[in-house]
Symmetry: C2
């Protein structure tokens, strides 16, 4: 069994030093509590509600930044892995909404968010590379960031490439939903887990930032699509999962959710463009 | 607004005459009650729990069968459309798990289920053509059958081709789910509606057939992913929806769930084959 912990932190916008300290402490505490996979939110080192590109740039860091060595030291005792979001600046001067996958050896992979949400488009450059599947000491992880999950092509791709666990740092803006309903992002994650037989850990954030609240809907979902952990009052969502189960795509002797795919009939999914031949009234 | 009604019938296995009469009566009643789109279950004319291919063949019909003229007459007063499942026999002698889309003029389209579930594979030949999007007097409909919904490529394709409403005749075998949870098929349909901004009507079936119970989870889901109708005690799920809303893929000024797609990064979805480089322990 692998203990997976999401830490629903409350980063301060543009408060780099405090955020670095908070994320490292959260990862260290989680490992002490037995976690081997620790997920912190999207843009955990930078905050989210930037007033300008300049403000975001002021807290954008590189994968060589010492914080990732701190995360590596924090996961080392468990031979574990930490995944978290950061504002990344590259040599071209552009900034990205990125996530790092860090084990005891350092940064294993960086993913740059492809599907930017709303005003992120005014701040960040979208990634141009598909999300990675990373072999880590704690399992084969696929990485997405927030809105990426709502494009079924992306989690499907990760699962087809053998991901045992999809880790998704998120910042889900607060929504009102009908009584008794989950926020739609969690419904989407459950359906994704179910259709792909893959476990998913979504780490949302907490706290109000420049007037913005969040769903605070962190969850760990097993490979059959059931929510097995949500955030407790201290913002910790933790569950023990057998990640090997994500390799079993069968449902009885005659059903296999991957073997039953008909990729020769899926061309339209990749190439079709929206067809609106009837005007919207 | 368009009234959409799912009729959660209980067909008898291999009892063709009764099933034809029941489906036609249900469509007629629904139209009298104001429906313009009426959905009846998967294999509504034939039943489901066949003992043999021969038994299925004994009740397999062609799109030229008079029952579809009866359905056409039933929807004519509303200039409506009926969608329902039937066991189809073709000139090659093979039988298919099919669905017909019927308006007052007759059969507009036939779809043959591509993703056969479990023992269906021992009875039916899988379809080899992608599901259709059909312009009908009551809207542009995309057609799937049951397990097809769990392959996100298919509903995505229908939505990208402009479907305003996905209609899905189903036979969902009874599952036990954790307290307070929906059956996973409905969660998948909600996520599908949400991610694609498309309305979905799933018509499940009722009744015990050769020891098999069903989820009886028929639902109408709006284009934002909310369940707006489930089956009442008489097995009727009905809702009025503005299907034009399915053309609006925006979420605020800067988000468009289709415009934000990055198809150039989705190749893996179509072509990847499962990669299992780590043996399952």
């Amino acid at each position: 069994m692998t203990r997976i912990t999401c830490r629903q932190l409350s980063p301060g916008v543009a408060d780099l030093d405090s955020n670095l300290e908070m994320t490292t402490a959260a990862i260290r505490e989680s490992v002490t509590a037995g976690a081997r996979v620790v997920v912190v939110p999207e843009l955990a080192t930078s905050g989210y509600m930037f007033d300008s590109v300049e403000e975001a740039r002021s807290v954008a860091i590189r994968p060589s930044h010492p914080v990732f060595a701190d995360w590596a030291a924090a996961v080392a005792p468990a031979d574990g892995v930490a995944i978290g979001g950061f504002a990344e600046i590259r040599d071209d001067g552009l900034i990205y909404n990125s996530a790092a996958v860090v084990d005891a050896s350092g940064v294993l992979a960086v993913y740059r968010k492809v599907h930017l949400w709303d005003k992120e488009k005014l701040i960040f450059t979208p990634g141009s590379v598909e999300p990675p599947v990373v072999d880590t000491p704690a399992g084969r992880l696929g990485v997405l960031i927030c809105f990426d999950l709502e494009f079924p092509e992306f989690p499907r791709s990760l699962a087809l490439r053998g991901a045992e666990l999809i880790v998704a740092p998120t910042n889900w803006p607060r929504e009102s939903v009908p009584a008794g309903e989950r926020v739609p992002e969690v419904t989407v994650a459950m359906a994704t887990a179910y259709s792909n037989h893959v476990a998913i850990a979504c780490c949302d954030r907490a706290g109000r930032e420049r007037g913005q609240d969040w769903n605070e809907a962190s969850c760990v979902i097993d490979q059959r699509g059931w929510v097995v952990a949500t955030a407790d009052e201290s913002g910790v969502a933790t569950a023990d999962l057998d990640l090997n189960l994500s390799h079993d795509k069968s449902m009885g002797d005659l059903v296999d959710v991957f073997g039953d795919r008909r990729p020769e009939l899926y061309e339209a999914l990749t190439h079709a463009t929206p067809l609106i031949s009837r005007p919207t009234l």
